[in-house]
């Protein structure tokens, strides 16, 4: 191509790129109307919009330096390629962020979680933009993925704005916004952000190495090939982070997090007719996978933590079958678990290595969340929970939002954690009592149950919203 041809081709492709960026970011043109967004989500959307404007400004002047020199032309082409590649990545985030307006995310719960996280040292300014995903799963976007794309693009187009380093991105299944209790699992995803932010891995990496050394003592270690030597620590790192985040969720929300895990993992199906564990149904739940520890292992560690925090004694008498499942998992032994993605006996050795690491992981998450506990190591809310859980149940059973309780001759506003946990337990074990108070109850009618379960979640959500108000006592 001669210079003119190169110039025309570049002009055309720059305009095409401009159009691509403009259309990709079109949904991010915020206005003061609807839908509405939480501050973190608004920041995210505004950042993408501003990046789009910077990109378009850059492209507007991009071809003016006529690329007579073939080397300059090549450089321009590379820049165009980088811009397109970055916007292809950003495209993934745009619609899920725009869809996640305050009507379609559990705003009150996210605010509660954020408030809890901010009590942790060096996490005082963390905030979380919850965006949608079409997967039926909760996950956190590793900070590096989005931020690196933004930084790389910002360098090319000379963007003036830096992406806020304390803004975490978390994905929520788009259909589940109204399911308050299940959304407690967001606490696990927040754990991933905190794990990276506080460099927690650095504190447990030595324990992982030590665990591997001890488990793979000679002569087995000599049999490991180079791939396995690299792969096994990575597997343990993933398991360690998952366990960290599970326990982090328990520290943040208490039993409600564990109950949500049981639902997401579909663990009620492990119950046999007589209330014991059905070995066949539970079989796969004992298996570790390459990315996650076994579900029953995770549940056993979560339950053990509830015991040490003082929660277990406060909830164990609840009649829900979810509590029974937790009880069944309390004393599972290492030998119950398997890892079958490597040949025997390596699987049991990896699990052995991991079990040797568990104590260090638990110590690390305990260190991080120290400010969420009393000096005696118990959760701060236990005493209040014990005092108010039945009162909250009674209010819910009477179809009343339990955000202002009259107890001991005074009006009380329960703490959000106490309300959430008491309501979650009521949701699991008190729906029939609530239905019995209604007109023409049919306990076997699934539609009726659905209506009342939804009501309890709505009342709890509204209760959390009420509690968050900076209210003063009336009267």
């Amino acid at each position: 191509m001669n210079g003119d041809e190169r110039s025309r081709a570049l002009l055309h492709d720059t305009a095409a790129c401009y159009r691509f960026v403009k259309s990709t970011s079109a949904a991010c043109r915020l206005n003061s109307g609807f839908p509405s967004y939480s501050d973190p989500t608004r920041k995210l959307i505004a950042h993408i919009r501003d990046l789009s404007l910077s990109t378009q400004d850059f492209l507007q002047t991009f071809p003016s330096q006529n690329p007579d020199d073939p080397a300059k032309y090549r450089s321009k082409r590379e820049q165009l390629w980088l811009i397109r590649a970055a916007w292809k990545s950003l495209h993934f985030y745009v619609q899920p962020a725009v869809d996640a307006n305050t009507l379609n995310v559990p705003t009150e719960l996210v605010q509660l979680l954020t408030q809890r996280v901010r009590a942790i040292d060096n996490c005082e300014s963390l905030e979380f933009a919850v965006i949608h995903t079409d997967k039926l799963n909760y996950f956190q976007f590793p900070p590096g993925d989005f931020q690196q794309t933004v930084i790389d693009l910002g360098d090319v187009v000379s963007a003036k704005w830096a992406f806020p380093p304390d803004l975490g991105l978390i994905a929520l299944p788009h259909s589940q916004a109204q399911h308050l209790f299940l959304n407690g699992l967001l606490a696990h995803e927040i754990g991933h952000f905190v794990f990276a932010k506080l460099n927690c891995f650095d504190r447990i990496t030595a324990a992982i190495s030590e665990g591997l050394r001890a488990a793979f003592a000679p002569p087995i270690d000599t049999a490991l090939n180079a791939t396995q030597l690299q792969q096994f620590p990575e597997v343990l790192q993933d398991w360690a982070e998952e366990l960290f985040c599970d326990l982090f969720g328990v520290y943040l929300l208490g039993p409600s997090f564990v109950l949500a895990s049981i639902e997401l993992f579909d663990l009620p199906n492990i119950l046999a007719a007589d209330g014991t564990m059905d070995a066949r149904a539970a079989g796969s739940q004992f298996k570790f996978e390459w990315s996650h520890p076994a579900r029953l292992f995770r549940l056993s560690r979560q339950t053990a933590l509830l015991e040490s925090l003082g929660w277990w004694n406060a909830i164990s008498e609840n009649g829900s079958h979810h509590i029974r499942i937790m009880d069944l998992c309390r004393n599972l032994r290492q030998g119950s678990f398997s890892y079958e993605e490597v040949v025997a006996p390596l699987g049991s050795k990896i699990i052995d290595a991991f079990f040797r690491t568990v104590e260090s992981i638990e110590a690390e998450v305990a260190r991080v969340t120290e400010k969420l506990r009393n000096g005696d190591g118990r959760a701060r809310e236990i005493a209040e929970f014990v005092e108010l859980k039945d009162v909250i149940s009674t209010y819910l059973c009477q179809a009343v939002i339990p955000s202002t309780l009259f107890v001991g001759n005074e009006f009380r506003k329960p703490s959000a954690i106490v309300l959430l946990n008491a309501a979650h337990l009521f949701y699991l074990s008190g729906i029939e009592d609530l239905m019995s108070n209604s007109d023409k109850p049919d306990l076997s009618d699934i539609r009726q149950r659905d209506i009342w379960m939804e009501r309890v979640e709505n009342w709890t959500t509204k209760g959390l919203e009420d509690i968050a108000l900076p209210n003063e006592r009336g009267g």
Binding site: S32, G33, F34, P35, S36, S38, N101, T102, L103, T107, D390, V391, S393, T394, Y395, C397, Q398, A399, V400, I401, S403, T404, L405, F406, V407, N409, F411, K413, G430, D433, S436, N437, S438, D439, R455, N458, W459, T461, K462, E465, D466, I467, L469, N471, E472, R473, G474, G475
Partner: protein, 238 residues
């Protein structure tokens, strides 16, 4: 029937004493009033308490036909959430369903009435056209908000928009017993809910009409409307 004073309302709010051992119908609890979140001190007057505007709204949508049939069909309404500090613009001569921030629970011997606060009314905003609250009601109150002025009005959640008055109702024990269960179409709503109607046909059968007339439109593709039209033309009206 007397209007309860502030002290009497507060006295009734202190009445519920939940029994830890018993979930099902606690009579002490039934006798109590609940207003939550607790109104602020300045929201009380001698005989009423202010209620604030909540965050959720239902925006009416223009139906595909130029009328609304009060039948058991669901009306199209768009729900919106307005966060604290934001506002909803209510254009002149427009309506929207909102709800109170406060959740109310009334005992069986008290009814309530919600009135537009006088200062709000003077901007020609009407918040209630069905202001009566039956004994035993529980839920946030749905507000039928209408801007009858010629100027757009900004509705900020959290503003004191209405006043709640409580009045005694003389129910005998038998009547109270009948009302002890949670009854009604709207139990415990926390945001405005679209209206529900019984079947138009069922309603009118009570006055001897089997086939109520509904206008048909040449462009309508609605099967139900077509069916009604068919019934209207073929069936005799008693």
């Amino acid at each position: 029937m007397g209007v309860l004073s502030r002290q009497k309302i507060l006295g009734r709010m202190k009445q519920p004493r939940p029994d830890k051992r018993q979930h099902i119908v606690d009579r002490d609890f039934d006798a109590g009033v609940v207003i939550t979140p607790m109104p602020l001190n300045e929201d009380w007057s001698d005989d009423a308490v202010n209620l604030r505007l909540g965050n959720h709204f239902l925006l009416p949508q223009s139906p595909p036909q130029p009328f609304i049939v009060l039948d058991d069909v669901k009306l199209d309404q768009t729900r919106v959430h307005v966060p604290w500090g934001e506002y909803l613009v209510l254009p002149p001569h427009h309506t929207v369903l909102g709800s109170t921030l406060e959740f109310i629970k009334l005992p069986l011997d008290l009814a309530g009435q919600i009135l537009t606060r006088s200062s709000i009314a003077r901007t020609f905003i009407i918040i209630e056209t069905a202001p009566w609250i039956h004994p035993g009601y529980r839920g946030c109150l749905t507000l039928e908000i209408a801007n009858v002025s010629n100027t757009p009005v900004l509705l900020h959640p959290g503003i004191a928009i209405g006043q709640l008055l409580l009045l005694t109702v003389d129910l005998n024990d038998e009547e109270k017993q009948e009302r002890e269960t949670l009854k009604g179409s709207y139990i415990g709503p926390t945001f405005p809910e679209a209206p529900t109607f019984k079947s138009l046909r069922e309603q009118l059968q009570k006055v001897g009409v089997d086939h109520p007339k509904v206008p048909t439109l040449p462009w309508s593709s609605d099967d139900a409307t077509a069916e009604r039209a068919k019934a209207t033309t073929l069936a005799p009206v008693k």
